[in-house]
């Protein structure tokens, strides 16, 4: 796997953790939120291997829940675990630092 793909995956994982930390979501909602934020270069289905991996790492937990109002089929919702919150915090720190550095380079290196 190329470094670029791996970097993208890491960023996508960070964003997924963030979305899950804000609200309980199921797979389809999650992909919708990513698309709405402009992540249209990742295919919809690519979130599922990532969700499985993050469950394996125990950053998130899935649980089945039926929609009691409509009596619809059970959906799998996700929530963050303790270790998941730590990973998210790390991601936020790393991202802000990287964003500053990249912005600095792109604007011609005005930072000291």
């Amino acid at each position: 796997m190329s470094t670029y793909t791996q970097m993208l995956k890491g960023i996508l994982e960070g964003c997924i953790l963030m979305i899950i930390s804000q609200d309980e979501v199921y797979g389809y909602e999650l992909s919708k939120k990513l698309q709405d934020s402009g992540f249209d270069f990742v295919s919809e289905g690519s979130i599922y291997p990532l969700l499985l991996r993050m469950q394996k790492e125990q950053w998130i937990e899935g649980y089945m829940k039926s929609d009691s109002k409509s009596g619809g089929p059970p959906r799998k919702y996700y929530k963050l675990t303790g270790p998941g919150e730590e990973v998210l915090m790390q991601f936020r720190n790393n991202w802000s630092r990287m964003k500053l550095s990249v912005d600095d380079i792109l604007t011609g290196g005005t930072q000291a």
Partner: protein, 224 residues
């Protein structure tokens, strides 16, 4: 919030929901089911994933996107990636499978044995006849039943995304026949070392009844 869903309920929901798919999506998703269910992964987690993917696909279909748009043009590669992230079955589930398959095979053998014995009684076969059952044969049957289930699973897994070609089936059939022949030959060889006992039709029916109760119990508890 409802009680935790059992595997049987998830499969029932899945089967019902699949009716909403159009022909092309049904084919794509059906292949995914065959592949994932035959991959030797934890059943519960596998069914959770399949239901999740199906609900996503149904929603996408309503919005005019196909399975190929959602999961990509390489279903086999995509499913391999999914399976690689899924947990293996628990040791206790694996052991239970290893016992259940031969158990069921032997159970039904005793029904056949009982019926055969009854037929011999009714037609009053000459005296001195008793139903002979050799331990070697039972062992052979147990082994063959396991082998057959494993082979069928393997066949399903390997051919999930191929157009089902005849050559492949013939190959597996041959392999199966050879394995049965090997088991029968082994049973024949062992026959002189292992005991042969006689079973009356009534005893055979009792054994079948006990075996059948066990099978019922197993299938129910396995689907939790």
């Amino acid at each position: 919030m409802s009680a935790p869903m059992n595997i049987r309920e998830m499969i029932a929901h899945n089967t019902k929901l699949q009716k909403q798919l159009n022909t092309k999506n049904k084919k794509y998703y059906g292949d995914m089911i065959v592949y994932i269910r035959s991959s030797g992964i934890d059943d519960r987690r596998g069914e959770e994933l399949l239901l999740e993917l199906l609900l996503h696909l149904i929603q996408a279909q309503k919005e005019g996107r196909s399975a190929q748009d959602v999961f990509g043009s390489d279903p086999s590669g995509y499913c391999r990636e999914l399976v690689s992230q899924l947990p293996r079955p628990k040791m206790v589930d694996r052991l239970s499978m290893l016992v259940m398959i031969p158990w069921i095979a032997v159970t039904w053998l005793f029904l056949a044995e009982g019926l055969m014995g009854l037929l011999l009684l009714v037609t009053s076969t000459p005296d001195g006849y008793s139903n002979q059952m050799s331990l070697a044969f039972l062992l052979g049957l147990a082994l063959t039943s396991l082998l057959l289930v494993k082979l069928v699973m393997l066949l399903m897994n390997r051919t999930a995304f191929t157009e089902h070609n005849r050559k492949f089936y013939v190959l597996f059939l041959l392999l199966y026949i050879v394995s049965i022949a090997a088991v029968v030959a082994a049973g024949f060889f062992l026959k002189s070392y292992l005991p042969v006992f006689s079973v009356s039709p009534w005893a055979a029916f009792v054994i079948f009844a006990v075996g059948y109760a066990g099978q019922k119990y197993w299938l129910r508890s396995g689907a939790k």
